[in-house]
Subunit: 157 residues, 2 copies
DNA sequence: CTTGACCTTCCCATGATGGGAAGGTCTAGA
DNA sequence: TCTAGACCTTCCCATCATGGGAAGGTCAAG
């Protein structure tokens, strides 16, 4: 069983030392054993765990999700159903975000398409941003609000 | 010229009061005039500016980009070229992120496809995360490093 | 013994947003 | 005129994952 300092564990796992300490601090990985002088010591199993974490991060799982995945990984009596559910839910999140970004992208592409992009100031992109449809002045009053939408005149100074 | 407090400006612009103060603090919008008692006062032009910011945020522009867009918007001698460049660069960022997320999504979808998702523990998703190809132990030494990859034995405790 | 690579903890920063406390201001209504 | 309560102020803290950097201790090699 190869024992090593945090730097080597970092090199071998792909998780840098700063993050290893952080993951320990937030409870994602177990507190490392220490030498008499306080240095953290890791073994190959620890490195394997860190690689798992790294891989999961690379796939965009959040720390919370990784905590769950680690639990399942280390649980011999897990059901693959749980794992699949986690992964599917992550895929759904990704889908949602991809969809939003594509929508934005298409809107922008449309605007860009209509912008001359020359020395003149006229620009449909700015015009679109300046359009007035962002307000909430719909006339629907907020609950428990007497003054919020009232147009009282004010004495300044 | 309709003058109003921050709450009404928030309602009319869609940017909440907290964020209006924040935008002022970071220099995105001008410091508001104040009443004698310190209340911020806004007019319709300010609200228009806030809506512009809101719209740009809705399109995913960063605060920095919005600062630039606001400058262009308020500059009569702007060239639409600059605006188009900004928008195109944002589109590129979006594309990049979308591409990354789709890659992740496809990887995950592939893994999910091969996972039974039943009561048994066997799970290709976990197997994949646990795969060892995340390390940096390629034998390529770091610059200025004498000890980083040396396998010195250690006295523990 | 010195060098310097490595380790420790602690604080701070990012970007955009928000919660909440403590306290002051304003207007409507009794 | 007083009071209720909606509204405003500033200040601090939290999120999420990551990292920079300071101050100081440890270790192995020369």
């Amino acid at each position: 069983m190869h024992e090593m300092n945090i730097g080597q564990a970092a090199s071998q796992s792909g998780v840098n030392a700063k993050m290893i300490r952080h993951y320990e601090a937030i409870g994602l990985i177990k507190p490392a054993k220490r030498t008499g002088s306080g240095y953290r010591i890791y073994n190959d199993i620890d490195v394997h765990t860190m690689r798992f974490v790294k891989q999961a991060r690379n796939l965009g799982f959040s720390i919370g999700q990784i905590k769950a995945l680690l639990g399942l990984w280390q649980n011999q009596r897990r059901s693959s159903r749980k794992v699949k559910e986690l992964a599917l839910s992550h895929i759904q999140e990704l889908d949602e975000r991809i969809r939003e970004m594509q929508e934005i992208k298409h809107t922008l592409a449309h605007l860009v398409h209509h912008c001359h992009g020359d020395d003149r100031p006229d620009c449909p992109i700015l015009d679109s941003l300046a359009q007035a449809h962002a307000g909430k002045q719909t006339g629907i009053p907020k609950k428990n609000s007497k003054r919020n939408l009232t147009h009282y005149t004010r004495r300044i100074g």
